[in-house]
Subunit: 287 residues, 4 copies
């Protein structure tokens, strides 16, 4: 959904100071920017400030390439870390899949219908089952078979491929393979996974079977950034659905699919709208 | 909510056989009963049959006191375990509380407003803070201070008190004390607890703090039967509510209260309507 | 998701009689059928009985073509209306669309990924915008431009096309054109629509705009059978999502898309699993 | 839940101007206030700014009685309307009830358990059924029988009583009597009602019966400010719960009670936390 006008989006956080908000907006105003969104969150206990500021570029008196430097002059004295994005940059996303296609179809449909303004230069898989889905949507499909012995080497090749294609975000769309430390280190806060359970309940394999055995009355799905520690990365989005004693595992798997694809899509959307700031083990997700 | 007409309620389960449903209903019809509800659930994988059958007593040709024996003649040859209840029996419930009153007020209000047809002969507490709530609702309040040394002895006294008062169900309404093995053994499937988290996530103490640290986007509450294994008993009911990065622990605790009292109330209601069958680690809860 | 074994599915309803359930199951048993699911609902106020009975065909002693007649002999004396389905029949579905593609992509993905065992012989549209989606999924796309003058004639052609292709279910996947009386009469309980509001709130056009103006805190979607009276047909499924004062109409439209596609998919699934019985203005939807 | 420290809370709104946020916070800082919460919402379409600003009074250099005047000097030149509250003022609430007690018990329990820092000087009723609930909670109960002829006169007496008791908020806790124009005019945005349906669906009497007839799959409750136009006032909070074909009206009424009391409590809480700004037919409710 392309904005009518290009905007700059600033994500910043750091120690709360008295005039931090006024300094930030003032710096945009002075440059001729028209603010279209300004979200702030203060963790009062820790005295930490988080913000997302979005302004139109059309009246800006600073060239786009100088903007980051200009902002650094305002933000660094305030002790703020920040990242700057432009709404008209086209985020390049790689999809990692195995045998299950529901998240893949969902993401490709959002892309091809222009619901999402993204580019998907490549689909990566440790299996071949979904090659024809890639073909249907005219995307390159790359097969990386992985064994315990080949894993590190294959992932190094994956990293090279992703770098070459300019990928900024990896989406694990029910990719049934734990990522190694090199690839997670190469894309910090740049890999989004969908886990088919309400984390921290039921981490690991076969969560629907575990949920059935425990007799829970609600099942869930969790989308999170991938860190080295499996299923423990910062959570971006979760949702749940009610089940009952008469819901067998096969039916949980079936209704879970819709949950998984919607939760994953919401997490990707929040990331792409530059609405997520990772705050150690947690996330700030602006509305 | 007293039924216009008294009914008998049968909860039964056992191996699935071809004519088990027809045998059961036939046996009621032959006795002159008019069926008002008949719920069934079949676990096809294990070949196990569960049912709840409710019929009006007014046309019954079998005296109430003979009904259990008459049913046994039909059900035991079918290999069914069963329990028989009468809708006009007044269930006697003991409430166990500590310092938090939201579940206590909620249950007492449902009782005194006649939303629930129950009797609450006694409130048991390891603290004295809620004695005046008991007084406001005209219920006896019994204080059992508990130390590691006195615990077994105090719980023996509690069991004696509950037996004397004819209590059939103990409700732990945010009772901050782990029950010992004697009392859990004395009331099998007869103690309902509310845990302020979405089990199996965040068992044990201070679950809202743990939820905050993990950065979950949804918090929950779980009502379950109490077994010897803390927070691992069969779940009766769960519900959740959405939170965000800006929801501090204190606010989770506040909004969690409404969740806890509603989830606990639903579990008690299902139990009292004789809609729950415990099936090993799980429950069957008829709608 | 093809069942391992073919089954017959009976949907029946009629006046509640004492042995109706036993008669039904007995008739299946006598024919050598193994029951795999048996759902029942009794509207006690009206004394009306509804059931869904599913049994394996592999041991059946009655030929498939004789089954309907054999069942009629049991069911008609009981006053029951019924319909018989076979799980291995491939339901033929026509998709009606206009300019919005999210429901279309979703349904086509479920079909091509074999999540749903269906056939989609044709996509019908009053616009041309989605022709390339049809092409991507290798489905015939038929354009029927509609003006007030041509409408009746065009719909007659649509009916002819659908009949020729053996279509049993029409899905209005955000089809922006009110159906005329001939086509609704031609497919009784055979047209499923998705309305982007929580009916009966906000019927008609631009419901998200109306929801915004009214300041509701929750928006919804409704899937229903189409009858002559617009937006008043029997509801199959509904769901909702929370919004707030800061959710502009454009954002409601965006998040509503996910709601619409999931609600529509659930309704289609229930219909295809033969779990829906229309009961005048309402539906019985077995779990 | 008394705050450790007294705070001032400002609710303000008006045309969006470039430095409105900085002016507001600057004015607080200059007075020695420490800001503990600052929520803002901008309706970009209309260019309208809404804010809730809360700061500690302990360091304030302006006497409490002069604060409103001091703020006016800053806010009026900016074109902002505003209201000022102090967290240590004890809001006086009158409860209007008829025969149903679930909301009444719930509110009184929250008050007496000190979950809410309020005072309830009087319960007003057009019936006598709930006089003993008032007695149980030690609140004055005033009976105003109302006939078409006596209505205007009785409501005038109610207004006089409420004024005398310093009531700032009237809560219609399932009060089954439409308020006349005088009393609604006397308490603008000062009367909160709970309607037992998901408005705008099913306004008026017997909404659960209407919901059953329409066959909806979800029922709801709505809390809103009362205006002259019945059931059309600005919505503060709504929530829903899933029902099915097998949920009779009596069961909807039963499960609806929990929904009603929780939705009403959330609306009252938001109002009392000074988190609600009425924006014509809508509300801004800060999180």
């Amino acid at each position: 959904m392309p904005a009518a006008t290009s905007t700059a989006i600033l994500l910043a956080h750091g120690p709360l100071r008295e005039r931090v908000s006024a300094e930030l907006t003032g710096s945009v105003y002075r440059n001729g920017g028209v603010i279209v969104a300004h979200d702030q969150y203060v963790d009062h206990e820790r005295g930490h400030y988080f913000t997302r500021l979005e302004w139109r570029l059309d009246g800006s008196r600073t060239a786009r390439t100088n903007l980051e430097g200009a902002l650094a002059e305002t933000l660094h004295p305030l002790g703020l870390s920040f990242a700057l994005y432009f709404s008209d940059d086209l985020p390049k996303i790689a999809l990692f899949v195995s045998n299950l296609s529901h998240c893949l179809y969902d993401i490709l449909g959002r892309w091809r219908s222009r619901e999402w303004r993204i580019d998907v230069p490549v689909i990566v898989s440790n299996k071949t089952a979904l090659a024809d889905v890639a073909r249907r949507f005219d995307v390159e499909f790359r097969h990386f078979p992985i064994t315990p012995e080949s894993k590190a080497e294959q992932e190094r090749k994956q990293i090279a491929l992703l770098r070459e294609r300019g990928v900024e975000l990896i989406v694990l769309a029910r990719y049934m393979q734990v990522l190694g430390p090199e690839i997670t280190a190469a894309f910090p806060n740049g890999i989004v996974n969908i886990h088919h359970a309400f984390l921290p309940a039921f981490p690991g394999a076969k969560p629907y079977h575990a949920a059935y055995r425990r007799g829970v009355k609600i099942i869930g799905a969790t989308s999170h950034y991938v860190t080295e520690d499996l299923d423990a990365g910062p959570i971006i989005e979760q949702d749940v659905i009610r089940v009952g004693h008469a819901t067998p595992v096969a039916e949980m798997i079936r209704i879970g699919r819709d949950l998984e694809k919607v939760v994953l899509a919401r997490a990707i959307w929040a990331h792409l709208q530059r609405k997520v700031i990772v705050d150690e083990a947690r996330t700030v997700v602006f509305a």
